[in-house]
């Protein structure tokens, strides 16, 4: 029993910081490659490109810093007394909640940073606005890792009181729901941010239109993450903990988490691609802004209906059995 306890505990500690660090490392490498390419293309804008790349890389770092914080929290939380069997198994939920979004976010946040480097090479006199735009899109992209961070803090505060396998599965399901649920929307947000950052390089007179379109579209692309967050908060607070063991109940809760998590992947990616295409077209022809924005929002609304069906099933698995 104790070996499994230690294995789960220390593997969680390792994974919570390891996977985000891999993603962040690859993303920062891509960003610096893009910065060097951009300097090669436009050597006179060297200092501007370096400034944008450093800001981008420092923001990409967020995922790794959060992962390091969570793994230190798990490590030192149970330093004096060894954790119980169920408490240490529940920390797998923490690993899922912070490591999957951290890994994906590390890779994905490199997209707007790379695009911004190339855009500065094309429009060197527009650096201030490009930098501001990149910081804004990059920090909005990182909402999923902050949700994962909040959920893992709540799981680590609840894991101490877990005494049954059913509650342990409940906490793991909550982590899996937000962890898997943020993969698709994060990729969609990255694709969209890359296309609008490149769009600024194509046509800087479209800045105002692209800016307002970005804020609306990122809110719509992020909607599936909010569905997954709702399910995981329900699992943490609304579903009551039970004193007696009920394994079938726990497996149903785990399925609810998996269902909500997997349901958002396709919707997130395709919603992001739709908005990315619309963003590129707005950069080419800013005068058709209202038509393009309406069509894109309508299409995104239809696409995200497919993320609502898994959420309904997850609700049914939670409450209507």
């Amino acid at each position: 029993m104790t070996e499994i306890t230690g294995l789960a505990h220390y593997l969680t500690v390792a994974f919570a910081v390891g996977l985000p660090a891999v993603g962040v490392g690859i993303g920062q490498g891509w960003t610096s490659t893009a910065a060097l390419d951009a300097i090669d293309r436009q050597p006179s804008a060297k200092s501007d490109i370096v400034k944008v790349a450093i800001f981008g890389m420092a923001l990409i770092e967020t995922a790794a810093v959060m992962g390091a914080f969570v793994s230190m929290l798990i490590l030192y939380n149970n330093w004096d007394t060894p954790p119980s069997y169920y408490a240490s198994l529940s920390t797998i939920g923490i690993a899922a909640a912070i490591s999957i979004p951290g890994f994906v976010l590390g890779l994905v946040s490199a997209m707007p940073a790379r695009a911004a480097c190339f855009t500065v090479a094309r429009q060197p006199f527009f650096t201030q606005k490009i930098l501001r735009f990149m910081v804004l899109t990059l920090s909005l992209i990182q909402t999923p890792v902050i949700f994962g961070f909040i959920v893992s803090l709540i799981i680590s505060s609840q894991a101490q009181e877990v005494t049954t396998m059913r509650d342990c599965l409940r906490l793991i399901a909550s982590g899996i729901s937000i962890g898997l649920g943020s993969v698709g929307p994060a990729i969609g947000l990255g694709l969209f941010a890359r296309s609008v950052c490149l769009g600024l390089g194509i046509n800087r007179r479209a800045y105002d239109k692209i800016f307002s379109f970005t804020l609306i579209s990122q809110a719509i692309i992020e909607t599936p993450i909010i569905f997954a967050l709702v399910i995981s908060v329900m699992l943490l607070f609304v579903v009551p903990p039970l004193a007696e063991e009920n394994l079938i109940d726990g497996i149903a809760l785990l399925s609810a988490g998996l269902c909500a998590g997997f349901g958002t992947i396709g919707a997130g990616i395709s919603s992001g691609r739709t908005a990315a295409a619309a963003g590129t077209r707005i950069a080419h022809t800013p005068e058709t802004y209202s038509l393009l924005a309406q069509t894109s929002m309508f299409a995104q609304g239809l696409i995200e209906a497919s993320a609502i069906y898994p959420m309904i099933i997850a609700f049914a698995l939670l409450f209507l059995r």
């Binding site: 810093v65 390091a68 914080f69 961070f149």
Partner: protein, 244 residues
């Protein structure tokens, strides 16, 4: 030495005045003291700048370049100048920046490593934004904005607004807290006890680099991000979505 020392600090309970043991009435001593230190530094800096403005060219240059930096930032988002909004944004930036880099003074901790500080900053920014939006567009169109583009989007709009508060404050908290834990654990725990390693940390400059990166650079960056997001939400609320 324990990593938990950063998390559980001393609490003063004032709930006994009205017979309550609820943690809502607890006062976190570290946070309050460090916030007062930050406020004192801001006050001294402001008075000193006002005194030196007419006497010293370097101070005048620094003051003007700081103001111009903010004016540029402001004018990129707003079409018209408003002194109230400008002062609000600039004071948020100065306060968060000093809160984040205060730990370079010995025996202090960043007040932003406490979730209460960042969450209250987020709530202040949110309420200010909503009131500015109501003043600019009227109560009716403010309520109507919750039901756009369709009527059934109302719950999603409400959740989205609340999620913006949570994400803005947890972003600041997580980054600063993570950085503080990493640099403090490295200095206090990983290399303490071995004289060789401590000497290596001091002489090679790793301690200094960690403190400078996580204290100063990350602190400036996160203060900038918080200010930028608040500025964007404020400009959206005041001039609508198409008003850039």
């Amino acid at each position: 030495m324990n990593g938990l020392e950063l998390i559980t600090d001393k609490q003063w309970s004032v709930g006994y005045l009205f017979n309550s043991q609820h943690p809502f009435f607890n006062i976190s001593v570290h946070t309050i003291t460090n916030t007062w230190i930050v406020l004192g530094i801001i006050l001294v800096l402001a008075l000193a700048t006002r005194w030196a403005l007419a006497r010293n060219g370097i101070v005048r240059y620094l003051y003007l370049s700081f103001t111009r930096f903010f004016l540029d930032l402001y004018n990129q988002s707003f079409t018209s100048f408003s002194m109230t909004h400008f002062c609000f944004i600039a004071s948020i930036f100065i306060f968060i920046l000093l809160c984040n880099i205060i730990s370079i003074i010995p025996w202090t901790e960043e007040p932003t490593t406490d979730l209460n500080t960042t969450l209250s900053l987020g709530i202040i920014a949110f309420i200010y934004t909503q009131i500015a939006g109501i003043k600019a567009e009227g109560l009716w169109s403010y309520i109507k904005s919750y039901f756009s583009p369709f009527f059934i989007m109302m719950p999603l709009n409400v959740v989205g607004k609340l999620a913006s508060v949570i994400s803005i404050s947890f972003r600041l908290f997580g980054n600063i807290f993570g950085g503080a834990i990493i640099s403090k654990l490295w200095i206090q725990q990983a290399i303490s006890g071995s004289l060789l390693l401590e000497l290596f940390g001091i002489l090679s400059g790793i301690n200094l680099i960690l403190t400078l990166f996580f204290g100063v650079f990350e602190g400036f960056l996160q203060a900038f991000v918080f200010t930028m997001l608040t500025l964007t939400y404020l400009s959206l609320a005041v001039q609508g979505e198409g008003g850039h």
